[in-house]
Amino acid sequence: MEDNMKILAAVDIGNSTTEVCLAEENESGKIRFISTASIPTTGLKGTVSNVTGILAALEDAITQAYSNTPSHSASHVHVNKPVQPTNHAYSHNPSWPITHIRINEAAPVIGGAAMETITQTVVTESSMLGHNPKTPAGAGTGYGKTICIENLSKAATGESYILVVSEKTSYNEAAALINQAKDISITGAILQQDEAVLVYNRLNKKIPIIDEVRDICKINEGIETAIEAALPGQAIGMLSNPYGIATLLKLTPEETIHVTPIAKSLIGAKSAVVMKQPINAPPAHHKTAKNSSPQKIGKIYIEGNKSIAIDFNQGAKSVMQAIESAGHITDIQSEPGTNIDKMLTKAVSSMAALAPSGKEPQIRDLFAVDTFAPVAISGALAGEISLEKAIAVAAMVTAGRLPMEAIAHELATKTGIYTTVVGVEPVMATLGALTTPGSGFPIAMLDLGGGSTDAAIMNATGQVKSVSLAGAGELVTMMIQSQLGLSSRQTAENIKKYPAAKVESMFHIRLENGEVIFYEDGIDPRFFGSIVVLSPAGMIKIDEEQPIEKIVSIRQDAKRGVFVDNAIRAIKKLTADAGPAGKIKHVILVGGSAEDFEIPGFLSAAFADMGMVCGRGNIQGKLGPRNAVATGLIMGYAGEDI
């Protein structure tokens, strides 16, 4: 029996992790899974440097399988000589009990994503300042010419003024000077320091005051200025209304049209300043006030069963309809020199290295989604931002055949074990998915990855159809990063992966669903009052201040927008010739993004509405959505044998 027992190892090299699965086959051909392991992929996927990671993963799997104490391991685990834990550091010729290593033929498709804003707010005829200082003071509007507090003595009596106070003047001095200048009409003040309340509390005659204007030195004197501070709990009403600005600054109808982008970007602000002249605006731009004008994105030309040209300015929905009606796509070209051309170049640039040499990578699929991004307004004083429309695209490129044979050869040389390259990735993943309890034919497998969403369907006779679509985890991260205006991609990644919470005291946090967690030893003051995400390693602070509701809704919308739409698109594509949604009953989710804490739920709900069973896979009945391909390689072997 011992001699007849074969030990199989399956290896799946992914973009981020290398997964292995060990199984044994007894003399009657019965397969039993022994162990699995997962290790970060060493080097770029499909290169010989992957071997280091493969060896480490195999070592890990073998250690798990054979270093257990004999007493509670099944006896047949020990039919082969176990590797002693003391021999841990493997040599290049380890005495591993493996008889056969199978490596998957990695799918030669790779996805990438890029985004571009398509509107722009430029303010040149007037300058504006509409930030949200935490503590402005007073309420109401003020209008007048700007004057520095140092020059208050030169002010004329018949004139109205907005006082400009730099950090050189303390709140006590500022308040005293304003109180002294009884004869001068001061209708509002702009402070550099965070002292609006301090000044306001010391005034005899109350005026609205806006503070924390860092670039106060850019404000010139004698400029007609309107200022507004909102009542508690409200947003400003005059300066967020073009006619309100017109009223305060006495604008002509023509000028009123030009201040519309200012008013638009001030909607929802707690306080604002609008000035009638540009501040240090380059003269060339004087007469080119742009009014949130949409920029031309450009056209794409889809070559497929049907060749279609579609203009991105018609919106992401129209583009996706065109993609759908094009059927099987062989290539997508973009109008040269346009924004979409830039984006597609960006999206595929990372993959160019893997394209067949001498050939431009061909785009096999494209996923477009409308989004928005906070962008700094040019002509604004305190780094104000405006939400601009943006479009995000993910593209899928055919790469050259990956040199898997070279990896297999290297592995065989180093281990002395018979190694073969077998299996098509989606087929293997489907076979692996089938080890999920409760699953059955006809089955659909959705591999939710980082760069692409791969799907396959298989019927009871083993017929398989598969498709790889652009748009997956990376696109979600990109949308979260842009919509929340996050400076780091890692922060976006953390927001995507973990639930958010607010640190409400030094001892407890409130999760996004209202649940409260207490910390016996107290919470680091650095986290107090901030939004954090709960990773398994502990709290991670989100430096950008955003309401938790906004973080949650942007995160969930991005996930739904990418994964639900793409999953339905994939299943439609695969079952197109089999009538509406085919006869698929089971949809099994595998891959990295299937481990997400909410994406499988969104998909389960969406497919349930379509009469299908959908859920996160549970490979081998215990592994969750991991290890599908490696497990499938073992299952495939069993299939070949029987």
């Binding site: 935490k134 503590t135 709140y171 965070d194 002292e195 609006a196 309340v197 301090l198 509390n201 010391r202 409400e504 005291s505 030094m506 001892f507 107290g522 003051p525 650095r526 107090f528 009052g529 901030s530 201040e545």
Partner: protein
């Protein structure tokens, strides 16, 4: 920097954030001076406690936090100041500073107010 100057900065930090506060001091001069300058809006109830333990800024902060209706206290003693929240261990103040920089005292006041409001510290 005198304790009185430090106190003024701390109070400015508190006031800008709009949080109410009360001052207890071992020095009668301190409170007289501040009473004359405090604005009506602050409505600070200023009292003098001669018997207060001025040994240590941390202990002062801890005691203040435990007496404060808003559960936050600040202690100033010599060149040191501390901010503490109620029920936190006395030997671990949320913030402790030892400096002559007025900006740090202002920030201590701001952060004490933010502790009350539940807003991120600066």
């Amino acid at each position: 920097m005198s304790n009185l100057d430090a106190l003024k900065e701390i109070c400015a930090g508190l006031e800008e954030e709009g949080v109410l506060y009360a001052i207890f001091s071992g020095h009668p001069d301190t409170t007289d001076d501040l009473t004359s300058k405090a604005s009506d809006a602050t409505k600070a109830s200023i009292q003098t406690y001669h018997a207060i333990d001025i040994a240590n800024a941390r202990i002062l902060a801890h005691n203040a936090a435990n007496h404060s209706r808003l559960h936050v206290g600040i202690g100033i003693n010599g060149k040191s100041a501390a901010m503490q929240m109620r029920n936190c261990p006395a030997d671990k103040p949320v913030f402790q500073i030892e400096t002559d920089n007025p900006r740090e005292y202002r920030n201590l006041g701001t952060n004490a107010a933010r502790a009350v409001k539940g807003v991120m510290f600066i």
